[in-house]
Symmetry: none
Subunit: 203 residues, 4 copies
Amino acid sequence: MQTQKDNIRDKILEVARNEFLEKGYKMVSMRYIAKQSEVGLSNIYNYFRNKDEILREVLNPLMQALDHIMEEHNKPEHLSLEVFNSEQLLQEHIFLFTDLIENYKKELHLILYNAHGSCYENFREEYTNHHTQMGYEYLNKMKEKFPAVNIQISEFFIHTMSSAWLSVIGEIVSHDLPKPEMEQFFGEYMTFCTAGWKQLMKV
Amino acid sequence: MQTQKDNIRDKILEVARNEFLEKGYKMVSMRYIAKQSEVGLSNIYNYFRNKDEILREVLNPLMQALDHIMEEHNKPEHLSLEVFNSEQLLQEHIFLFTDLIENYKKELHLILYNAHGSCYENFREEYTNHHTQMGYEYLNKMKEKFPAVNIQISEFFIHTMSSAWLSVIGEIVSHDLPKPEMEQFFGEYMTFCTAGWKQLMKV
Amino acid sequence: MQTQKDNIRDKILEVARNEFLEKGYKMVSMRYIAKQSEVGLSNIYNYFRNKDEILREVLNPLMQALDHIMEEHNKPEHLSLEVFNSEQLLQEHIFLFTDLIENYKKELHLILYNAHGSCYENFREEYTNHHTQMGYEYLNKMKEKFPAVNIQISEFFIHTMSSAWLSVIGEIVSHDLPKPEMEQFFGEYMTFCTAGWKQLMKV
Amino acid sequence: MQTQKDNIRDKILEVARNEFLEKGYKMVSMRYIAKQSEVGLSNIYNYFRNKDEILREVLNPLMQALDHIMEEHNKPEHLSLEVFNSEQLLQEHIFLFTDLIENYKKELHLILYNAHGSCYENFREEYTNHHTQMGYEYLNKMKEKFPAVNIQISEFFIHTMSSAWLSVIGEIVSHDLPKPEMEQFFGEYMTFCTAGWKQLMKV
DNA sequence: TATGAATGAGTCTTCATTCAT
DNA sequence: CATGAATGAAGACTCATTCAT
């Protein structure tokens, strides 16, 4: 017998992941997950409290990776900017997310587009807020170090940039953009944004 | 007591609009709309063919406004660029959308965030594609007029900018941004994007 | 204005007849009849007590024609058989029904196949019973006149022949059999049945 | 208290069978079946995909029996007619159907009279066509073997005989005819039809 | 007469979750 | 651990009929 004890849990998760991704959280019923994973419907509840928990488990690796990125960004050494360069923030960001996208394409698509009805249905908004706050703090740090810099930028603009960034991620995973195109795109994106930020910050 | 025809129709529409906005198309049941608008459930079907039609009716003014914007953009005089200026496209765009947002805040929020399960569930994607195509054509027109311009820009980048633009709209209506803040923001946004495009197009 | 007062009633009836025929009594809603006949839904109830009454009205001519046939059959002169001939009963029957079919093709189809849910849903059964009784009486009359005739025929057989006769009618109207084919068929049918009856009655 | 699986399934089927028979497929609601079989409405859907499937299950044995009869008829040995006798076809037919009726009285009634709205609503027509085709082929085989035989018989006549045959079946099951009466009847029926066919085929 | 609005019970079906074994 | 059975509320939508004007 190939499938043993804990494999059941994994099978459920795998099926759920694929089905959630394809059809969206709301459109996949527990019945269907049970059938696809060849597990008794009610048995699922021995492994997961409820449907939502399955999604949480499915998205757990992604969430941890996102937390990891956050931590990286908040490390003090990243804040000591020896040379002022708005490019740096972007560069880092992009670098961190390139891997993320590579590893969690499916999960990202799921959480960005198909989590309606779950506990992650507001993920986009929440993450954008988080991201905005980080950007805001970064700007302030910058101002401290380089007082000449203009940071008379509305919080909403930063918020919007954060939101747009999620859109970018979303589009990449949506279109399953191959790595070369992705890198070309990120080049363009960086050129675009760096010029934009420099202009805004009047550097 | 028989209420005048249009009162009830409007009441249903208003209730639906608010409820759809708040909870999303899928999560609002006909039963609930009926209860909320104090109309017999089956009576709703004397006014609307089905749930989807209510949404369509709610979003009809917005859709027409969007069509109007499209037409404006496709008018030939908009394509004859006397002075090369990537700012122009943006300026126009923003100008057209400022009104749109002012008039259709709720509807925009509804179609962008809460139309899952309805005939508009792919609106974001469809509109983005439309927008992308328009941007692409614009670039080619530019190249014809000003051969020095660089248009070696991936289609995906344009697509992403279109998507990001919808995110911007979404954030504005989401946060119910007051007009002054909106105008400040658009100033920043234009500064940012203009610098970005100029850099990319190597002008 | 072409359509006046009583034409409304007729229009409703015409629409109902066609729709009932095409889709069956149950599948045609009052709403639809109203829409098709360009009459307000509730106005229909000024002309007809209910849906069933519309059907009754539609089928009224047919029912009267059937009654007429009955009467013809019960006239005493038809019972005085100068020459014994089982062909005679059939001949008459067929003759009477040929016209009926010609005039009430649609109505016959309706009452035989599409009256489910109406007051005529048991028409087939009821008419068969009637027909059976007539056949039975005829046989007895025969026996009185020609004691040599065998009438040791189960009532059920007569019943079945009556039922089969309705099937025949049903098939003819179902297939909209043109008159020449109909006459050929009736020829075959008579040959077949006459031989059958003669054999059974041991004449 | 948990009843054994099959008990409930069977109970639902039995209730459905009886109710369908009595009131017709369309007029029996799932709610009613649930109430009658003392099963939660939604629980029914743990046993059957939908209403139609219940009917299919109910009629499954009958359908298989009918298929079986078809196969019997198509066996080559049945086509080699050693002695010409139109009686043979009938005899066989009747023999096969006697059992069928005995075993599937209720189901036959259901499919013939009360399947409106289900996947079997055209059964009568479909079976008649099938039957007609079989009859037609039989006649041709006859002609090959016995060229003297007249087969200038309209297809419609055969069709009608097939239809009438279903009527006969219908009447038998409708009246719940006891076996002795049934056998007497079939005797009469055979006498009648044999004489008829012989006359028609000019033998 | 004519109408649009209203009614209320009805249709089949789906869902996530829990129960009893 | 595992299961099939059970639950109860909810989903959109339809219907013949009646009401008020």
